[in-house]
């Protein structure tokens, strides 16, 4: 018998991805920003209602540099898709920040799935419909449009119905014109034009009407279907004004600034087959192709990934036709601003016999602890989520200066996942300790009103701000999300009657009366309010025993302490700015099964 002993050691490191997702609130209209906040553990994206639908997705993306709002510009490896439901109501979405490497820039981007229309496909902009390309005329040096004109809206006189333009009279425009009455069959062309007199025209009346045409400007020449219609145009961009170019409409005549108020609806109805804008070097800066998105026609910009819809919200979706539904397009719908992922992260390298830990200056404050944790699977960034037996604390002083720390590698078993976790120590306040939330202060619990079925709060009210907000029937909220339409406990009418009120699941307390629940809370001592089993108690005595079944609120809007979101608002992000000052001793929210969603205790951390 012969024994052969072979010993091999293979060491490898791999990055794992763990996305922890938690449900929350709602999305905004297209191409509006998503607001971000983040802690050491999570990135929270708050978005407003209505923009997303069942085809929508939400992504956390990151990289060493900001790659903008175009979803396709971010590496596939650097994206995490939100795994939960995307409701159309206001929502907040939580991503695990541990996926974002130290020093990275991150965004949250919403996308929708569009289907391209392929050959022959078009999007139709009809009565009072138009499309804002978002590209300014003074950045466009060449353009190509493929379209079929059908009719125009018209009102007034001595002006233009525009097919494509930034400003109708004295810059860049292609459109119909009439000094009085209805326009003739000509389309006038203005290029860097400050005189009001057109540079030239083309005529697609008669047999040309109802046909697909191609119009282009390049090399100081305008062509229709390949035939020159205007030559010797001035060199430079197609327009001189810093105004965006629209399709099927334009800014009001002689407008030098962004239009305000009602946009003149002198639209040229047209099928749009293709639109391309080029920069000074001939490189495309916009390349629109027709597509279908959520059942509506859109123009998809293959350059930026944007989906352009009808800019006139009053006239509905664009229609579409021709072509066959083709490739799926992941279009950027809305995006957060870039955020800098603070560089207070830990780096780990494996050297012979040691796990070496690099901590940048300022990442830790004293007192801090450094732990190595391991298991067969990753348990995330929280020390307490790792088995006690699988933790080892660094046996030495941990300072706020940049430093390298070492752990014994031999502590780690075969095939384990490990992390280095730094913890900062804070103190829970014992006994009757409290946190005071005063003037212009509030705490966002991050828990939506429609997820909360029970609560217990211990507080001592002291005063309320009143003058900063606006609107009648206003509330100063002690706790709540939306004082008008959902849940709040607070003061009304500047507290002039000395009472507190509650709104529950909507416009009233839903206790069999139409009035808000009223009760007196003095300022001399702490009080406890609980809601459980359809019963509200104040200091242990039942105040209402007939609350409506269900969550305390019906909206997916985070509940605040010390304030609430603006009245009549279904969009978190705008505060009522009417605050209740109070000492807070404890706050607990429960889910439908009585399990704690939130259990707040007063604590001191870094002197606050």
């Amino acid at each position: 018998m012969k024994r052969v002993l072979s010993r091999m050691a293979l060491r490898a490191c791999a990055l794992f991805a763990v996305a922890v997702v938690m449900a929350g609130a709602k999305l905004q209209a297209a191409v509006q920003p998503i607001s971000l906040s983040y802690t050491n553990n999570m990135i929270v994206a708050a978005v407003s209602a209505g923009a997303l639908d069942s085809t929508s997705k939400l992504w956390l993306v990151w990289d060493s540099v900001d790659r903008g709002s175009d979803f396709s510009a971010w590496s596939v490896e650097n994206r995490i898709q939100y795994a939960g439901d995307i409701p159309s109501a206001d929502s907040t979405y939580v991503f695990d920040r541990s996926r974002v490497p130290a020093g990275s820039v991150f965004r949250v981007i919403a996308t929708k799935m569009a289907r391209s229309l392929g050959e022959g496909g078009y999007v139709y902009a009809g009565a009072n419909q138009y499309i804002d390309t978002g590209i300014k005329a003074n950045t466009i040096y060449g353009l190509y449009i493929k379209f079929m004109y059908s009719a125009n809206d018209w009102s007034g006189s001595n002006t233009y119905a525009l097919l494509i333009a930034n400003e109708g009279n004295q810059d860049f425009a292609v459109g119909r014109y009439a000094a009085s009455g209805e326009p003739d069959g000509k389309f006038y062309v203005k290029h860097r034009n400050t005189t009001g007199t057109p540079n030239g025209y083309f005529d697609i009346s008669g047999s040309g009407l109802g046909q697909v045409h191609e119009f282009a400007i390049a090399n100081q020449t305008a062509t229709l279907d390949g035939v020159t219609v205007v030559s010797e145009l001035d060199a430079g961009a197609i327009g001189q004004k810093n105004l965006r170019v629209w399709l099927s409409n334009g800014y009001p005549d002689n407008t030098m600034t962004e239009p305000t108020g009602t946009i003149p609806e002198r639209c040229c109805h047209a099928r749009w087959y293709a639109v391309r804008f080029d920069d000074e070097n001939g490189d495309p800066i916009l390349n629109l192709v027709p597509a279908v998105w959520s059942g509506a026609g859109i123009l998809f910009d293959t350059i930026s990934g944007r989906c352009l819809a009808n800019a006139n919200a009053a006239t509905g979706d664009l229609t579409w036709g021709g072509g066959e539904l083709g490739d799926a397009i992941e279009g950027s719908d809305s995006t957060s601003a870039a955020s800098d992922s603070a560089a207070n992260e830990i780096t780990v390298s494996i050297v012979p016999h040691w796990v070496e830990v690099g901590v940048p200056a300022g990442a830790l404050t004293s007192p801090s602890e450094l732990w190595m944790v391991w298991d067969s699977e990753d348990h995330g960034r929280r020390l307490e989520d790792w088995p006690v037996a699988n933790r080892v604390k660094y046996d030495g002083e941990v300072s706020s200066a940049a430093a390298t720390y070492r752990f014994e590698k031999g502590l780690l078993p075969f095939r384990c996942v490990f992390r280095i976790i730094a913890t900062e120590l804070f103190s829970l306040l014992s006994g009757d300790g409290y946190i005071y939330v005063g003037a212009n202060q509030y705490i966002n619990t991050g828990v939506n009103a429609n997820a909360i079925y029970g609560l217990s709060i211990k507080f001592q009210y002291s005063a309320n701000d009143w003058n900063q907000g606006s609107g009648g029937n206003a509330w100063s909220s002690l706790i709540g999300d939306d004082p008008t339409y959902d849940f709040t406990i607070g003061r009304k009418a500047n507290g002039s009657d000395g009472q507190f009120y509650m709104r529950y699941r909507g416009v009233s307390v839903k206790s069999g009366t139409t009035a808000d629940l009223a009760f007196t809370v003095d300022t001399s001592a702490p009080h406890v309010i609980t809601i459980a089993n359809q019963t509200l108690t104040l200091d242990g005595a039942t105040a209402v025993a007939t609350l409506e079944e269900g969550s305390i609120g019906t909206q997916a809007i985070p509940v605040l302490l010390g304030c609430s979101w603006a009245e009549h608002s279904t969009v978190p992000g705008t505060l009522s700015q009417r605050y209740c000052h109070a000492k807070w001793y404890s706050v607990r929210f429960d889910d439908a099964d009585g399990n704690a969603l939130l259990n707040l205790k007063p604590a001191v951390w870094k002197g606050e």
Binding site: R3, A9, M42, V417, Y434, E608
Partner: protein
């Protein structure tokens, strides 16, 4: 305020710092920062018997 459910600290979202009163009691550590998860793989002993 410390949330014992999530392990997070909730801060003031408005102006300034929150004030407090009370006696500091139990110390709790929260994850100030953490490394990414790392998979450590090793091949063990291989024994052949003839």
């Amino acid at each position: 305020m410390y949330d014992s459910v999530s392990g997070n600290i909730l801060h003031n979202s408005g102006s300034g710092s929150l004030t407090y009163d009370g006696m500091p009691g139990e110390s709790v550590g929260i994850a100030a920062s953490a490394s990414v998860p790392i998979l450590l793989m090793r091949r063990g002993f291989i024994v052949y018997v003839r």
